[in-house]
């Protein structure tokens, strides 16, 4: 009897063990939580077709290299030419030189002179195509084709939108300190196609792009006083923004391009105003008996960040677009000036004076402050449209020059404009 029960019990236990055995094989999980912060090695051989194909590939390569996030490989190490853009490359050739990504392309010219560029982005290790796009443009716009390809590659491999098909408007400086010539100038973000927009007969300051990239607003200082201008860079048409008895400075477009915020001085008191460009109606936003200046809209246009010394020293404040709800967001030591809201709304860049002038960023609520640069005199930050890169001017013994930094402060380098320059403003992506 007992033996029979024991048999049942044993059978039951065996059954249970059989049922539970698979569960004992826990899944293997490997955790990777360090990684390396190195530029991604990428191969960009010359595009097939006419000679411009090689030049376009060069623009793509230079853009990606300058971002600091990519390391274009030396073409002399390539083991094979990619050939037809529609044919899958031999990935082993590219893996053997440690290329993690490969860009191949083909350029053709139409009978009417337009060029068409096809390109493919390949993941060499996974052995698959990541992107395949075609751009068509007039022949003289071949550089923009390269920038657009670079933007697409950048976004696919970093996840952030590209910023290469953009322009920079800035103040080109020349002459001695006593006889400084300040001309409004514009160039592609890679330094190509520089040109002057004003002749240097008067001083210009703080140029800013409109959202549609066709207009620039800036401050002009003449012996007769200061004015804020709107300049259409396509037509060259220029107009003033209202007439004020005192100084007018630091203009900046609203995100929708319909308004301009600026600072105007009246009776020794600077306040912030907003003008509707259609009706020219002006609305005063601040009334505090202190210096309120450098307004910058939030991306949704609902708020402005600005600089005020109402607390005893220049600090950064945020208010609603109608002037209500003013509150201070900077509380660190030192003096904060020139706040600029990032296009993605997540950061405010500023100049901080504390043992020198430095570029920093903080969250719009004042938290998470970082100082990104460490030279003696830096100012005037402007955001790339992807909110990942900041351009600013750095003053050295040889004058002011343009520099860029990423928002980690890891990748700081001179902008590709070798002459004296200050007050940069980055355009949105071109259309």
């Amino acid at each position: 009897m007992i033996l029979r029960h024991t048999g049942y019990l044993s059978a039951l236990i065996v059954t249970l063990l059989l049922a539970l055995a698979p569960l004992a094989r826990a899944d293997i999980v490997v955790n990777v939580d360090q990684g390396v912060s190195q530029p991604l090695p990428i191969a960009i051989p010359a595009f097939g077709g006419p000679a411009v194909g090689s030049q376009i590939a060069g623009v793509v390569s230079a853009d990606l290299a300058r971002s600091g996030l990519f390391r274009p490989l030396d073409p002399s190490t390539f083991k094979s030419a990619p050939g037809d853009v529609n044919v899958q490359p031999n990935f082993d050739d590219w893996k053997s030189i440690s290329a993690q990504a490969l860009v191949t392309g083909q350029v053709t010219s139409d009978s009417d002179g337009r060029l068409t560029a096809d390109f493919r982005l390949w993941d060499t290790y996974a052995g698959e195509q990541l992107l395949g796009l075609q751009f068509s443009s007039t022949a003289e716009n071949w550089r923009r084709v390269g920038h657009k390809i670079a933007d697409a590659v950048y976004e696919k491999l970093t996840g952030a939108p590209g910023y290469f098909d953009t322009r920079i408007v800035f103040v080109a400086e020349s002459g001695t300190r006593a006889h400084r010539i300040r001309r409004l100038a514009i160039m592609d973000q890679d330094g190509a196609n520089p040109s002057y927009l004003t002749d240097g007969s008067y001083l210009v300051y703080t140029p800013r792009f409109s959202a549609n990239t066709q207009e620039i607003t800036y401050m002009a200082l003449r012996p007769s006083g200061s004015s804020v201008y709107l300049l259409n860079i396509e037509t060259g048409r220029q107009e003033t923004v209202g007439h004020f008895s005192g100084m007018v400075f630091a203009p900046r477009f609203s995100p929708d391009g319909r308004k301009v915020a600026f600072s105007a001085e009246k009776d020794g008191n600077s306040d912030i105003y907003v003008m509707d460009l259609a009706s020219h109606a002006t609305n005063r936003l601040t009334t505090d008996p202190s210096i309120d200046t450098s307004p910058s809209f939030s991306p949704d246009g609902g708020q402005l960040v600005f600089n005020s010394d109402r607390g005893g020293s220049p600090q950064i404040y945020v208010m609603n677009a109608d002037g209500s709800g003013v509150h201070r967001i900077s509380f660190g030591s030192g003096r904060y000036t020139t706040p600029v809201w990032s296009p993605d709304g997540k950061w405010v860049a500023f100049t901080k004076q504390e043992g020198g002038f430095h570029i920093g960023i903080m969250r719009p609520d004042g938290s998470d402050e970082h100082i990104l640069t460490g030279s003696a005199l830096e100012e005037g930050p402007t955001w790339a449209p992807n909110s990942r890169v900041i351009m600013f001017s750095r003053e050295t013994g040889s004058g002011a020059h343009l520099w860029t930094t990423d928002i980690t402060g890891r990748i700081i380098q001179p902008a590709p404009y070798p002459l004296g320059a200050s007050d940069p403003a980055w355009s949105p992506l071109l259309h």
Binding site: V14, N31, D33, G35, V36, V87, N90, A126, E155, D406
Partner: protein
């Protein structure tokens, strides 16, 4: 290793345990109920059942040897049915443009790393069970039963056991004494193997901290018997519309591809790799 063989291996401990229980019960009943009248006809089945597990219960105590066997045995079995190594996964490459002008230039040997041969994960002999010198005990078929051989094997085991514990892993690394089951228990992959692969992937992973959005990625990975990546899948994130997730997945997948060929312990297996970008980017 085939699915059937894997399942069979996983059931072996359960069968051994069941048989050991039979023996235990039989012995207990014999000792505590000596006067119990046993029907003569039932003696035969009881003897068969009781004698076999006497050996197996010993083996169950020598767990490290058994686990090692699970790893080592299936590998040759799995290799056997695949006589020709499968061709490289890259599909046919038409190469309509055969001339390779760049070939004339002597390709400077890139100093980077021509072949990504991963450093063998740290061997860690203390944790990993040493190669079993007592393999022969597993070799004989079980369909014959020899009491003399059984006794001899028991006596050999008892003689040799004192010298072995010096090298054997103790404490929590042993499944039999650990307070909780090891993750890799019964899988033939030690924690040091996993740690070694983790270190390798940490060196190969170009983390993506620059998109403004930090995305953690889990890659499901299948390794073939030659250590190559059969499948690396981030749950479709690599092809997702979310560009930050896609970029992060692409980089994670690139890292696992570069780690090939995988060490022997990982061959023929499927496992997951968690790329913790939140932690990695916070630490940079």
């Amino acid at each position: 290793m085939s699915a059937y063989a894997r399942r069979r291996d996983s059931l072996a401990p359960a069968l051994i345990a069941a048989l050991a229980m039979h023996v235990g019960l039989f012995v207990a009943l014999t000792i505590f109920h000596p006067a119990l009248p046993l029907p003569l006809g039932s003696a035969v089945p009881i003897n068969i059942v009781s004698q076999a597990p006497t050996t197996d219960s010993r083996q169950a105590e020598q767990a490290p040897q058994t686990q090692t066997a699970q790893v080592e045995a299936p590998v040759p079995q799995a290799k056997a049915p695949t006589p020709p190594p499968p061709p490289p996964p890259s599909p046919p490459q038409p190469r309509p443009t055969p001339p390779k002008p760049l070939k004339t230039v002597p390709p400077p040997k890139p100093a980077l790393k021509p072949t990504p041969t991963p450093a063998k994960p740290t061997p860690a002999p203390a944790v990993k069970a040493p190669p079993t010198p007592t393999h022969p005990s597993k070799a004989p078929p079980k369909d014959t039963f020899d009491l003399n051989a059984l006794a001899a094997s028991i006596s050999r085991a008892s003689h040799s056991s004192p010298s072995r514990p010096a090298n054997a892993a103790r404490g929590p690394t042993r499944a039999e004494t650990a307070p909780v089951a090891r993750v890799d228990a019964g899988q033939g992959i030690s924690q040091s193997d996993i740690q070694g692969l983790s270190q390798l992937l940490n060196r190969l992973w170009l983390k993506n901290c620059d998109s403004g959005t930090i995305v953690n990625v889990t890659v499901r990975l299948a390794i073939d018997n030659d250590g190559r990546v059969l499948l690396a899948d981030a749950g479709g994130r690599e092809h997702a519309g979310d560009s930050a997730a896609s970029a992060s997945a692409i980089r994670a997948i690139a890292a696992v591809h570069q780690a090939a060929p995988y060490a022997e312990e990982f061959r023929g297996r499927t496992f997951s790799v968690n790329f913790d970008a939140a932690k990695a980017c916070a630490n940079r």
